[in-house]
């Protein structure tokens, strides 16, 4: 083996491959070996592209309330508006918004809010959890009691207080979501790290006088990934639903610029009355996005897990 390999073995990092084969190429090969994951990736790219390209693709701008005509509300899929200039392929909702356009625009907000808040909550939570488990004692007690308090605080209350103190805005929704979610990650990370901290490789790293943050970041953290990744991918769906609830309360997106989550919640009122499309299509859109993310995420998790057998 190469000298580089020996050196990296000593630090306990995953084995570095011979210089010929770059890590990226191996990674790519592994990823594309799963057809399901590839399918998921394509789906995800399509969703992202549609969301980003909304202003150009969608037949209507549902956020421009002057363009809405209440007489066109609750029209079934396939109907057209009064002068025939617009076909509502997926129907219209209670406010006369074209559902297809609303999904495109809404997906943008939902995905943005979801991704940012989950990523931030993940990083903050994992950091807190790992530090807490590693140092134990008083630090662990303090941090975990903070976690207890945060977990007991209902998201609605957090959001209302944020609204009262900071005012409105999409960024406030993100703060609220991060505040509500980080504690969950912290607890899960700590659970995993508590098992790891007594293992030999951590002792070995400590013997080598590596700084604690390096031990945590490069050694403990990767081994704690599996449960955290599962939670993260599921949490995205949760975050979008949570954002919808908070938007209802007036924190964040204005009611005239609904996110995907809000469209689904709005559609709730129409479920029994037979206007199924108002809730059904946004629900399908959300499910597609979540499925795509999970297909990709599942496979990524399998590949990135240092304990799995890696080729090469």
């Amino acid at each position: 083996m190469s000298a580089r390999h020996d050196a990296s073995m000593a630090t306990g990092a995953p084995p570095v491959l011979p210089a010929r084969e770059s890590l990226w190429r191996v990674f790519a090969a592994q990823f594309f070996s799963s057809r399901l994951a590839v399918f998921g990736l394509i789906l995800l790219i399509i969703c992202l592209a549609m969301a980003l390209g909304a202003p150009w693709i969608s037949p209507q701008n549902p956020y421009d309330i002057a363009s809405l005509d209440i007489m066109d509300s609750k029209m079934p899929p396939g109907s057209a508006n009064m002068d025939g200039s617009l076909t509502y392929w997926l129907g219209t909702d209670g406010q006369a918004r074209d559902i297809f356009s609303a999904i495109l625009y809404g997906m943008r907000t939902s995905l943005f809010v979801g991704f940012v808040s989950v990523s931030a909550a993940f990083l903050i939570g994992a950091a807190v959890g790992l530090v807490s488990a590693y140092f134990g004692g008083r630090i662990d007690a303090l941090l975990m009691r903070l976690v207890d308090i945060q977990l007991s605080f209902p998201s609605i209350l957090v959001a209302l207080v944020l609204l009262a103190v900071l005012g409105k805005g999409v960024d406030k929704v993100i703060y609220a979501l991060i505040a509500v979610q980080w504690a969950y990650f912290a607890r899960a990370a700590r659970g995993a790290a508590i098992v790891e901290r007594n293992k030999e490789y951590v002792e070995a790293a400590r013997c080598m006088a590596l700084p604690w943050h390096r031990i945590l970041r490069r050694h403990v953290f990767p081994n704690c990934m599996p449960p955290l990744m599962v939670i993260a991918t599921i949490d995205l769906a949760h975050a979008i639903a949570l954002e919808a609830t908070l938007s209802f309360l007036g924190v964040g997106v204005p009611v005239t610029e609904p996110s995907l989550g809000m469209l689904i919640s709005n559609g709730f009122e129409f479920l029994l009355s037979g206007n199924y499309w108002i809730s059904f299509f946004p629900g399908i859109a959300l499910a597609l996005v979540v499925v795509a993310i999970n297909l990709v995420g599942d496979h990524l998790r399998d590949i990135l897990n240092p304990r799995n057998e890696i080729q090469g």
Binding site: L68, E269, L271, S273
Partner: protein
């Protein structure tokens, strides 16, 4: 709840046998409520879910019928002479525990009202014009008011009579609210009597065998609070309940088509309106080209009113459960003139012309605040109004929020305009004018819910005069004049009168009420 089902099954079978014997059925009535009452104490919290139950357990001296007209209840007749009202009490009335009803009970009841501690919304509101109450004999009550009080009867209908014997106790107010909530001391003369209350689950009433009026139809009345309207409708469809309050308006078309159900829509006294900030300085959320507040110009207000297609709102958002409104009460209610009985058709072109005339050919920008979930379809109506205004050039940002936050912000004048509702409990024009349009004067208790800074001293004078006029004819004329003045000025923009909706199994009938109360004693089997 399956126990109830079995009981009902037996009862229905038994009822089939007894059916020919008379109108009273050996059957239970199960009603799904929209909100659970906060208390059984008839004097603790003035809130419709509480009042409608106490009006079934108790009777007031004078009741109001479905259209808010006073009708005799425990008082058979009355006369008024200046400030003195004399009521002749109905003889031979017994409470549900068998004790006879006398004027002592009336004294006790009115005496208790101000003594109820920690009341979040006190009933002393209804006795505010009462100076003293006397009982010259066991069947007469004399009430002296502080000055002429034309609304006394409507107010008294809100304070039902409790039993002095049952509700007395060591505390200053006799039986406390907590004790009454458990049924201790909760004895009335009404058609049903209290059995039990499992919070969040159900409230059970039994037929009152001592009731002085027509024998109540039902063996038991069971109320189940189901706050989620889809779940309420599902419960009716599944046959778990007999009657539901307030189905979601989107379910109406489907419910009306269902052959197993009957839908009752009754015009109510609740008006949904928009208040426009008419202060001199441009309010929050407004960007106007000349730095002035466009809403102070009557033409602008008229334009905004003309832009709103009220019929479309009723048809598309309320699914027909509303009536377009041009006044604060629907004609021919007391104080509503014929002039504003019909709603002018929406006219966006005229609106745009008026805006241009007023100096705003390119429109301006403002905000519209609305609570979310306080009134039926509130945030949906707000959005549609905003889009209608946007189409005549007034760019409107809609700010909807949870009710507590909304009220806080509204009272801080944080919106250029806001949407709200008002229930005219008395059925007369005095109430909405006094609360919504008269100049705000906290010390006098005037304009308490007027957060628009609108002020019209001439109209204020008319309203003040009307509040002191006992003669019905004169008062009605004064109120009509005042209301017309307010509407001519577009001081406030009424949108619609809500229709109260009840849905029930096809063999049950309920006439509905304008005050939106669900009163079990008026529910009968269909003939």
């Amino acid at each position: 709840m399956k126990l109830i089902r079995k009981t009902m099954l037996f009862s229905v079978l038994a009822a089939g046998l007894i059916a020919a014997a008379g109108p009273a059925q050996a059957r239970d009535l199960i009603i799904a409520l929209r909100s659970e009452p906060s208390s059984m104490d008839p004097q603790f919290h003035s809130l419709t879910p509480n009042t409608q139950l106490s009006e079934t357990l108790f009777d007031p001296l004078v009741r109001t019928d479905g259209t808010a007209k006073p009708v005799p209840s425990l008082a058979e007749s009355w006369t008024v002479d200046g400030d003195v009202w004399t009521f002749k009490l109905r003889p031979n009335v017994k409470f549900s525990d068998g004790t006879p009803f006398t004027s002592e009970d009336v004294l006790f009841t009115y005496d208790r009202v101000p003594k109820v501690p920690n009341s979040p919304s006190s009933y002393s509101l209804y006795l505010s014009t009462v100076d003293k109450v006397e009982a010259p004999d066991a069947h007469t009550v004399k009430i002296t008011t502080k000055g002429p009080s034309p609304v006394l009867l409507a107010n008294l209908s809100m304070v039902p009579i409790m039993s002095k014997k049952a509700a007395s106790g060591p505390a200053p107010e006799g039986k406390t609210t907590v004790e009454l909530n458990r049924g201790d001391g909760l004895v009335g003369t009404g058609p049903y009597k209290f059995v039990s209350w499992k919070r969040g689950a159900e409230i059970v009433f039994d037929r009152n065998e001592h009731y002085w009026g027509d024998k109540p139809d039902w063996d038991k009345v069971i109320y189940r609070p189901i706050s989620n309207s889809a779940a309420r409708v599902a419960a009716l469809l599944a046959g778990d309940v007999d009657v539901i309050e307030d189905p979601s308006t989107d379910d109406l078309p489907k419910l009306k088509k269902d052959k197993n159900l009957h839908v009752q829509e009754t015009p109510s006294f609740r008006v949904i309106y928009i208040a426009l900030n008419q202060g001199k300085e441009p309010p929050a959320g407004m960007t106007a080209p000349d730095g002035k507040n466009p809403l102070t110009d009557r033409r602008v207000r008229e334009a905004l009113s003309l832009a709103i297609d009220r019929q479309a709102i009723v048809d598309r958002i309320m699914d027909g459960a509303g009536m377009p409104a041009a006044n604060l009460l629907a004609y021919p209610a007391f104080g509503a003139s014929e002039k504003y009985a019909k709603v002018p058709k929406a006219d966006a072109d005229k609106a745009k012309k008026l805006l241009a005339e007023a100096g705003y050919p390119d429109g301006f920008a403002m905000s519209l605040g609305s609570p979310d979930g306080r009134y039926t379809n509130d945030k949906r109506i707000a959005q549609v109004v905003a889009s209608m205004w946007a189409r005549i050039g007034v760019k409107t940002a809609v700010e909807t929020m949870a009710p507590p936050v909304f009220f806080k912000q509204r009272n801080a004048y944080a919106f250029s305009s806001y949407l709200a509702g008002w229930a005219v409990s008395s059925g007369e024009m005095l109430n909405p004018l006094n609360s919504l349009v008269v100049t705000k004067d906290p010390a006098q208790g005037l304009g308490t819910t007027n957060w628009s800074k609108y002020s019209n001293p001439e109209m204020d004078k008319l309203v003040m005069q009307a509040s002191k006029t006992l003669d019905d004819g004169q008062r009605a004329a004064l109120l009509q004049k005042a209301a017309d003045m307010a509407m001519d000025d577009y001081s406030i923009l009424p949108l619609q009168f809500e229709l109260s909706v009840w849905a029930m199994k096809k063999d049950i009938r309920y006439g509905g009420r304008a005050d939106q109360m669900t009163l079990a004693q008026y529910m009968t089997l269909a003939k």
